[in-house]
C-alpha cells in the first residue's frame, strides 16, 4: 500500500479529515468528536492499523495537540493522527480499548499535559508523585523552587 492509496481510503471513510504531506509520513488532522469512530475504523478496516507506536502531546500555548503514530504490521505504512484540543478543557476519547498500549501512554499524557481521556479504565498519575501540582510539560508551567525562569 502506498501513501496515496492510504490517503484515498481515509478520505472516503472520513471526508472531514485534513491532510498534510510535507513530512515523511502522512499526517491527518481529525476532530476530537470523530476520533473514536475513526480509530475503530483504522484498526478494523483493510488498513489494519494494529500497532500504536507513539502517543504524545504538544502544547502550542493557544491549544494542545494530541499526536498518535500508528502503523500496520501487515502493510508497514505509518500514519500520524493529530487532534486539536481546547487548552482550558482538553478532552478526548480514550483508545486504550483499541490499542492496549495506549492505557499507559494516556496516563502519561494525562499527568504531564492534563489531557482528560474520557472512559479510560484507570486514569491515574503514572510517574509523578501523588501530591504533584500542575502539568510540568505545559509551556506555562512554573516551579520557582526547582526551576530558574528563562
Amino acid at each position: 500500500m502506498t501513501k496515496d492509496e492510504l490517503k484515498e481510503s481515509i478520505n472516503i471513510a472520513l471526508p472531514t479529515a485534513v491532510f498534510d504531506e510535507t513530512g515523511e509520513w502522512l499526517n491527518v488532522q481529525v476532530e476530537a468528536t470523530e476520533w473514536k469512530a475513526m480509530a475503530q475504523w483504522l484498526r478494523n478496516s483493510v488498513l489494519q492499523m494494529d500497532y500504536l507506536f507513539c502517543l504524545t502531546c504538544i502544547d502550542w500555548k493557544t491549544h494542545l495537540t494530541v499526536v498518535y503514530h500508528l502503523t500496520s504490521t501487515s502493510h508497514r505504512i505509518p500514519i500520524v493522527i493529530k487532534i486539536k484540543l481546547d487548552r482550558q478543557q482538553p478532552q478526548v476519547e480514550t483508545v486504550s480499548d483499541i490499542w492496549r498500549t495506549a492505557e499507559f501512554h494516556e496516563r502519561e499524557v494525562f499527568e504531564l499535559f492534563g489531557v482528560q481521556f474520557l472512559h479510560h479504565p484507570d486514569l491515574r498519575r503514572l510517574i509523578l508523585t501523588d501530591d504533584f501540582e500542575g502539568f510540568p510539560l505545559r509551556k506555562d508551567f512554573e516551579d520557582p523552587v526547582n526551576m530558574v525562569k528563562l
Partner: protein
C-alpha cells in the same frame, strides 16, 4: 611541595616505623593509622548507577581498568555490605529518598563519591526542570567529587585513590565526626 603530593608522600608506606631489634623488627604506629590504612585498602563499592556514568563505572570495574587493583574489590548489591557509594548519574526528586535510605543502610564508616556533572550539580542538560535534584550533596554528604560528563575511567580511578588518601589522612567526614565525638567526651 603541593599539598596533595605531601599527603601522598606521607601515606606511601605502611603507617608507623620499624624499630630494629635482635631476632627481627617491631613496627610501631598509632592504632588509628593502622585502622585507616586497612580500611582504605578494602573499600567495597555499592552497585548503584542512575544513568550513563554507570556505564563508565562498569568499564572501570572491568579488566581493562580494573579498580580491584586498588582494593575496590567486590561491588556489592546490598548497602549493608558496602563501604563506599559512587553516585553515578542524575538524582531525581523521586530517587532522592531512595538514595538517602541506601546511605542510611550502609554500615559505618561510609564514604560517598559524586561522579559526573549530574551528581555534582544536576548536570549540564537537565538541571532546569521540575524533577532533578541539583547535586547529590543536597541529600547525602559527599567526600570526593569527579567532574566530567561522563568522567573518563582514569578520572574515576583518580577519585578512588584520592578517597583512599583522604581516609589514610583521617580527613573524611566520618572520621571528622568520630574525632569530634572523642574530643567532646574529653
Amino acid at each position: 611541595m603541593d599539598v596533595r603530593e605531601e599527603i601522598r608522600e606521607k601515606n606511601k608506606d605502611f603507617p608507623g616505623q620499624i624499630i630494629e631489634a635482635p631476632g627481627g623488627g617491631i613496627i610501631a604506629g598509632t592504632f588509628q593509622d593502622i585502622v585507616n590504612w586497612a580500611r582504605s585498602n578494602s573499600l567495597w563499592p555499592l552497585t548503584f548507577a542512575t544513568s550513563c556514568c554507570g556505564i563508565e563505572m562498569m568499564s572501570v570495574a572491568s579488566s581493562k581498568y580494573d579498580f580491584s587493583r586498588f582494593g575496590f574489590e567486590v561491588a556489592r548489591a546490598t548497602p549493608r555490605q558496602a563501604d563506599v557509594i559512587i553516585i553515578a548519574g542524575t538524582i531525581v526528586n523521586k530517587m532522592a529518598p531512595v538514595l538517602k535510605r541506601l546511605y542510611d543502610q550502609m554500615a559505618d564508616p561510609k564514604y560517598v563519591i559524586a561522579m559526573g556533572a549530574c551528581a555534582i550539580s544536576g548536570g549540564p542538560f537537565f538541571y532546569n526542570t521540575y524533577s532533578v535534584v541539583k547535586g547529590a550533596d543536597h541529600v547525602i554528604p559527599v567526600d570526593v567529587y569527579i567532574p566530567g560528563c561522563p568522567p573518563r575511567p582514569e578520572a574515576l580511578l583518580h577519585a578512588l585513590i584520592s578517597l583512599q588518601e583522604k581516609i589514610k589522612s583521617g580527613l573524611t567526614r566520618e572520621q571528622g565526626i568520630n574525632e569530634k565525638l572523642l574530643y567532646d567526651k574529653g
